[in-house]
């Protein structure tokens, strides 16, 4: 017993100060890729060619874009560029409400914006959101970094958000993975078991676009097109702060 108390004392208080203070993000963290147009050379498409998921679109045009829903934040583009024109922006805020908002201008620092849920749904879920997680081909990285939100470091419960065991107890689904052929039925049944009104969150490149498994014979390129998605959280996997920030914006708990 003495040992238990002593250990409790030595472990200390470990919950992060966010959202009252900005979170600590590692200096090598890779946010959205940003292309410096001034360094670009005409008709060069080395970065887009190197991208494993085709996330750099319309490069040779007046309006090149980065599709954050496809991006693996992997450095293949930054390494492929011989002119040092591509780098990763350090901002961890990447979530969006609409799929097309994830297409950001490749050459300015724009980030997707998350609008809060519509007033009526926010009234219901704003202070208490219960989510059922479904891994539909996820590699356990998105799952692990969702799980971590429930640890004492992030203490998701203090925002009224909780992961529940039964879809019957849930207000929505959090989907990871490219939605494998073998999980599609189970996903749809789980969705059907959630009482309305309900929300759907697609977490990670796989759930948004198929990610590294895009166009494989046994996957569905994500949850889009199968269910109506209310929040997209990009990353491979997203940093826990990217996930948490997305949740809180969706609920209107933080703004601007």
């Amino acid at each position: 017993m003495i040992n238990l108390l002593r250990t409790r004392w030595s472990q200390g208080y470990r919950t992060i100060a966010y959202p009252n203070k900005p979170p600590v993000i590692p200096d090598r963290f890779r946010g959205r890729p940003l292309i410096d147009g001034a360094k670009c050379v005409a008709d060069c498409s080395k970065c887009a060619d190197a991208c494993p998921t085709g996330a750099i679109v319309n490069l040779v045009s007046s309006q090149p874009q980065i599709d954050l829903g496809r991006c693996l934040f992997c450095m293949d583009c930054t390494e492929a560029c011989p002119y040092g024109a591509v780098h990763h922006h350090p901002d961890y805020r990447l979530a969006a409400r609409q799929r097309d908002q994830l297409l950001v201008n490749a050459k300015d620092e724009s980030l997707p914006q998350v609008a809060a849920l519509e007033a009526e749904i926010r009234r219901l879920f704003g202070r208490s959101l219960k989510l059922r997680q479904v891994s539909a081909g996820g590699c356990n990285a998105c799952e692990a970094d969702t799980n971590v939100l429930s640890t004492i470091s992030f203490d998701l419960g203090r925002f009224g958000i909780q992961f529940v065991a039964s879809p019957r107890h849930a207000d929505g689904l959090l989907i990871t993975g490219p939605v494998t052929a073998n999980m599609k039925t189970a996903l749809l049944k789980t969705y059907a078991a959630v009482p309305s009104p309900k929300i759907v969150i697609a977490l990670g490149a796989c759930a948004i676009s198929g990610g590294p498994f895009m166009d494989h014979s046994e996957v569905n390129n994500g949850a889009d097109g199968i269910l109506s998605v209310d929040l997209y959280i990009p990353g491979c996997p997203p940093h826990p702060m990217t996930i948490l920030e997305g949740f809180l914006r969706l609920l209107g708990r933080i703004r601007s």
Partner: protein
């Protein structure tokens, strides 16, 4: 071992496929059964298409006493006499061959699909499933028992909690589990099919996500494959940084597992401390490479990120704090009688069963099997720095927990030692094209156990075949065996003590 029947070669050493003797099937079968009887372990057994409709079977056996990998090969026709009745280790490999290539291992005691996908040979299927019909995962025969008081409990694919999908079917007598059958395949993403013709821009990302919690393990196995095929040697500093990442991955997952085990017996202090500490190890990986799972750290030819002096200092300081907190958190487990009561003699796997099934990693070592790829078939820096293999003899949940704790301490000692003396070399070397018509196997001790990759190149130096075997492929049956005669309420505890990968198995 008859030298004319096989090729004996080291971990990560390629040789021309044409040199591999083509054995008559009876000799192939006899040689493998005999080698396993002599203590070799089946690291891989798979079929690969040849020109026309022919299929070649390739077996890779790891023989610890000589540190060699033995390759055997034969030709397969529509069916072959199953090895499993004489060599249980072959059971899942044979099921996989049957599912992928519609070749029937006759006499296999439990021939079921592994991942529930259509066969790679159009129009053929061992279970007569129509090519046009949708695949129904887990729809197959399940083991049945008759008896008035027996009942079945079916769980999954969607489980309570944030966890990957799988279907578990228990046959129970009251609370007592008579039999557990595990049906997987829900996570099948057709990774191996996508690797053929590579390496291409997506290849390394498929390795990083084969099992996302083992990003470093699988990516390292892959890097060793391409480096071997390109005859490239990795600079020493990169080799050290790779091993630091591999041990960090082990530390994070072992710490998380010990916390989860505490959670499953309702002991919240260790559960909450370790949940946070696991994250602290992941944050150390992010300090190195910007990603908590080590994404983008490894590349063919070396590593992408360095540790400069200032970063080493910060790393060491944070590492020591995390280890100190982890020590007090984990020690609580062994000091609390109510926990030991739940851990001890729960979910026992005998040494004989572990060897027969070919278990790997902490699950095998907890039964007393002395296997650790870092010592048995070392590559990279492990050739120069040995980490002593940790075993325990009781085969229960306690053993699987305790082995993890000792491994944490040995990994930490290794890591401290390595980080003090990073060699002054470049971080990576440029890679030439891959040598054509070769075959190579690569073994890495991931945190769950032995990861095996086998690659074959075609005449143009591209992947003609690529095989991934996650440690979970060997170990899921171990969990089923551990549950025999247990209370069904102990399933979460036993499950967590193995903590196997669904996606690593399903690929």
């Amino acid at each position: 071992m008859n030298r004319t029947h096989s090729i004996a070669i080291g971990n990560g050493e390629p040789f021309p496929f044409v040199n591999l003797p083509l054995l008559p099937f009876e000799i192939f079968r006899e040689q493998i059964c005999q080698a396993v009887e002599e203590g070799a372990w089946i690291a891989a057994l798979f079929a690969v298409p040849e020109s026309g409709t022919d299929l070649r079977a390739v077996a890779v056996l790891a023989h610890k006493p000589t540190g060699a990998l033995w390759f055997f090969s034969t030709r397969l026709s529509e069916s072959f006499p199953s090895l499993t009745p004489d060599c249980a280790q072959a059971q899942l490999f044979e099921r996989e061959i049957a599912e992928q290539w519609a070749v029937r291992p006759t006499g296999h005691p439990w021939l079921k699909p592994v991942r529930f996908h259509h066969s790679y040979r159009a129009g053929k299927d061992c279970w007569d499933r129509a090519e046009t019909a949708p695949m129904l995962p887990a729809v197959a025969d399940f083991f049945q028992m008759e008896g008035e008081e027996l009942h079945e409990v079916a769980v999954g694919p969607v489980h309570a909690g944030i966890i990957e999908p799988g279907h578990f079917r228990f046959i129970c007598h009251g609370e007592q589990v008579m039999h557990l059958e595990i049906a997987l395949g829900y996570q099948h993403r057709a990774i191996e099919k996508a690797l053929i013709g590579g390496p291409h821009p997506r290849t390394i990302h498929l390795m990083e996500t084969a099992a996302g919690d083992t990003t470093i393990g699988h990516t390292l196995a892959y890097c060793q494959i391409v480096e071997a095929l390109a005859r490239c040697s990795v600079p020493l500093r990169a080799a050290v940084l790779r091993s630091i990442c591999l041990e960090l991955e082990r530390l994070a997952n072992h710490a998380g597992d010990l916390g989860a085990l505490a959670g499953d017996v309702g002991f919240l202090p260790t559960a909450s401390y370790c949940g946070r500490l696991r994250g602290d190890f992941l944050n150390l990986a992010a300090l190195l490479c910007g990603n908590r799972f080590g994404r983008a750290m490894l590349c063919a030819g070396g590593v992408r990120f360095d540790m400069e002096t200032k970063r080493i200092a910060e790393f060491s300081e944070r590492f020591e704090k995390t280890m100190a907190d982890l020590t007090t958190a984990v020690e609580l487990l062994w000091q609390t009688p109510s926990i030991m009561d739940r851990f001890e003699e729960t979910g026992i796997v005998s040494l004989e069963d572990a060897l027969a099934m070919g278990l790997v990693g902490p699950a095998a070592r907890a039964c007393g099997v002395e296997c650790d790829m870092r010592s048995d078939f070392p590559t990279g820096i492990y050739r120069f720095r040995n980490i002593p293999t940790v075993t325990w003899h009781t085969g229960d949940v306690f053993a699987r927990a305790f082995v993890r704790w000792i491994e944490i301490q040995r990994s930490a000692a290794f890591l401290r030692d390595q980080i003090k003396s990073l060699p002054q070399t470049p971080l990576r070397t440029a890679l030439d094209s891959l040598e054509p018509n070769q075959i190579v196997a690569s073994l890495v001790e991931g945190w769950r156990g032995a990861i095996c990759h086998v690659a074959m190149t075609d005449a143009s130096g591209h992947f003609r075949h690529y095989k991934i075997i996650d440690p979970s492929f060997h170990n899921w049956l171990g969990l089923a065996m551990a549950m025999r005669d247990q209370q069904i309420s102990d399933f979460p505890l036993c499950n967590k003590s193995f903590n196997l990968s669904y996606c690593g198995h399903d690929l």
